[in-house]
Symmetry: C2
């Protein structure tokens, strides 16, 4: 490992995992002490499992089409809980603010946070505010942590060949909006970030959660990185079908123009769901009735293979590897 | 309220409270939704109460005599839980790191965190790492949140005249060490920050917690600000006795030299404890047997009064008000 932190140490990919293993696991104690990447689930009583998670938000710009850092901070933590099959119960919100920051903007951010809380039936119950001198921090960063109650129906387990993969909506919309707004691209589009809470998947599916083997929200690194994380070292491959992957034509066009593959761009209101073999279609039909999930699609399946690779079966009949990328396509996406 | 964030909005005093009321309470929802200042306590089951808290750390310098930002981050959250009568169970740790930060320093910080965790029997179970580009953040900031189990013996309640006030050790040692190290004062002293976990008060006192009415760790703003917070709007005064307040001679000398009142400087390993009238001396004797509490003292008592003021009865027989200060004596203390 080099002796300096690089931007890629924060992108959720290989370097982040190296840092977690070589620094945090090593010095905190055993790897098990860190729990799952998204949330830690613990049996608090025999009858109740709680999930616990944390996330910091450094998105740039703070306000973007379809959201702001406040909406993102609440949705991000709610979605990490949802990925564990948990309904959010309580959140914390800690602000790091640069001296001179606009209080009007802070009000806008807090308002967004309150709105998502009310919408999802959760509450911010503890907080902290630190202000640092001008120049020591770029505007405002937010940390949220959350506690949720895990649904008794949800039992995450090992995926197997034949299990099906669902995405709950179009990909890369958040990442593309950040690109447009950060670089002030001169594009006329009605596109908005997909940033949204996804706990309605947990409350809406209920008993059908039994047939779900795992859920992951594809944020940093997009669905490409998350799928690679799932297959890594598993000895199971993933076969994706290009024509099934929902990419809005505007998203595709903007990314083509910039030379970026939307497979690697963040979603902030989508869930990747691995469904037990044979239940994909029925679960999909149910998911499509849920708010914010009307564009859900089965995008591929797990297949036997010894490489733990993600393959894309292209529209024109080809087949290519979706590799793990080193480094950051777009830092400060969330 | 001015339209810009000031440093004092982050010092835990009047301006912080204004910001919480005018922005966070207003937009999140009802004031009750924010819980107590330190931690939020909720009944998870009939037989079990959990406490939940969050804190961010921006201390400067990152390494100081007696600790570093990592030790501080774990102790701070453990102590907020302890102030609610809770033993820490699980912690989260989220890092915001500037590109180019030394990985060796990060290892030192993580090592300190692991040490306090092992010492207190808690575990970091979920985390997050974000890296921002050079110049967007001053080195490293850490957020920790924590979940603890509240002792069944502890029932915080309203203080009354006659109740006694204990401090578990010498004051202002953390703040003084930060002063020396930040401004590289040319002082030869063995003084170290008091930064330490205080959950042994909860595990060590057990049944005696019944006689404790409230606990507060006097961090930002020192014991002066915390005592004013307790009396504010209560209609009860506090009478302190100067000769009883434990201030190390070195702390006093350095603060005299700088013109700072140690009453306003942070402790990071001390607890202010309000004890039911008549139980002060017996609780004190027990506290003094606990690790890190040998210098505990009764420093004053609650008195009937309609002003909600904090009074200092001086060594020479005078009596002065310990006022609430506006603004920051020392920003980035924790």
């Amino acid at each position: 490992m080099d002796n300096k932190i690089k931007l890629s140490h924060g992108d959720g990919g290989i370097h982040t995992h190296q840092l977690i293993n070589d620094v945090f696991y090593k010095y905190y104690g055993s790897p098990a002490a860190m729990g799952t990447p998204d949330s830690f689930v613990f049996n608090h009583t025999d009858s109740c499992k709680l999930a616990y998670t944390t996330d910091s938000f450094v998105v740039k710009p703070l306000f973007f089409r379809g959201g702001d850092i406040g909406k993102l901070a609440v949705c991000g933590t709610v979605n990490d809980l949802a990925a564990c099959g948990a309904m959010p119960l309580y959140l914390s919100a800690a602000f790091l603010i640069e001296e001179g920051f606009s209080i009007e903007m802070l009000c806008g951010i807090a308002k967004s946070m309150g709105e998502v809380c009310r919408h999802t039936g959760t509450r911010i119950v503890t907080g902290d505010t630190k202000v640092v001198e001008k120049g020591s921090l770029d505007g405002i960063f937010i940390n949220t942590s959350g506690i949720g109650v895990v649904s008794g129906f949800y039992e995450p387990r090992q995926v197997e060949p034949g299990d099906e993969l669902i995405i709950t909506g179009g990909i890369a919309e958040h990442g593309t909006c950040i690109l447009i707004d950060r670089y002030e691209l001169d594009i006329i589009t009605g596109l908005e970030s997909d940033c949204a809470p996804m706990c309605n998947l947990v409350s809406g599916l209920q008993e059908e959660l039994k047939y779900i083997k795992l859920m992951k929200d594809p944020t940093r690194g997009g669905i490409a990185m998350v799928l690679n994380e799932i297959t890594r070292g598993s000895g199971i491959d993933i076969e994706l079908y290009e024509e099934c992957i929902p990419v809005k034509s505007e998203v595709q066009a903007i990314n083509d123009m910039l030379g970026i593959d939307p497979m690697y761009l963040a979603c902030e209101g989508r869930m990747l769901i691995a469904v037990q073999k044979g239940y994909g279609e029925s679960i999909l039909q149910h998911i499509k009735t849920l708010n914010n999930c009307r564009e859900a699609r089965i995008i591929g399946k797990f297949a036997s293979g010894s490489h733990g690779m993600v393959y894309m079966n292209t529209r024109i009949g080809g087949r290519r590897i979706i590799p793990v990328l080193e480094g950051n396509i777009l830092p400060r996406i969330c």
